[in-house]
Symmetry: C2
Subunit: 148 residues, 2 copies
């Protein structure tokens, strides 16, 4: 298992934790110098706060860990393609690399519906790598199947 | 002075408070049933957190005040055109009306660089009204003039 797969596995574990809270299962991990500095999962319903997506919570934790709002040399691993809010937070925090587990054709903002993380008109460009992990999409499919 | 101008004046007062913290002067107010339920200003540097823009902080406060992450019948007054992150948070929270004080041609995501709040491919559409308040732009111009 290569390093990217290992970090994505940990993001998937985070997504599974979200299920305990009956939240949409999305997880995120932020890595610097090959060390995990933040992990988070979706907590929107639990916190009654629409900004509490996994990515935003992970960014807040990473900034606290580094005592810096700039995450220049950091990589984020996230199980689902970030929405416009989270893609915007990723460019605000200057995250360097973004590894995405599966795409979101309803609100993905890293290429699916629009592209905020790779947009020449904005002030930061993120390296994006799609890992297409089946567990990421299966977790979501099963969650929404049970919801209906 | 009409009601919209009154609420924008209060957003401008918030923006002025940001100056005390040497933050980019942006302020936001959220209104429901003609009553203010949240006010906030930029606190990114103070909190060392890139998500602490005025709009995000105001949304978090408003959700707490209503004990609900859905701000369906709420209006936001903000002194500067929201960035992609904040425009994304506005659609996540389902805010109905957005009143903007001045545009941001570098990272505005309500029409200037891109448009997230009025995009048929996304799941929420916001009514946007531009108020073009000179104080909103002057506050920013003076701030950046002194920074240099």
């Amino acid at each position: 298992m290569n390093q990217n797969s290992v970090f994505m596995e940990i993001a998937i574990q985070e997504a599974r934790k979200a299920l305990i809270f009956n939240e949409v299962p999305v997880g995120a991990v932020i890595v610097k110098d090959n060390k995990i500095i933040a992990t988070a999962h979706n907590l929107k319903e639990f916190n009654n706060d629409p900004t509490c997506h996994a990515e935003i919570l992970a960014i807040k934790k990473a900034c606290k860990a580094l005592n810096n709002w700039r995450l220049n040399d950091c990589s984020m691993y996230v199980t689902l393609e970030p929405c416009p809010m989270c893609a915007g937070a990723i460019i605000q925090s200057r995250i360097k690399n973004l590894y995405i587990g599966t795409f979101d054709d309803r609100s993905g903002a890293c290429g699916s519906v629009l592209n905020i993380v790779q947009n020449d008109s904005l002030n930061h460009w993120v390296n994006v790598q799609w890992l297409y992990n089946k567990d990421c999409s299966l977790l979501l499919e099963n969650f929404f199947k049970h919801k209906r």
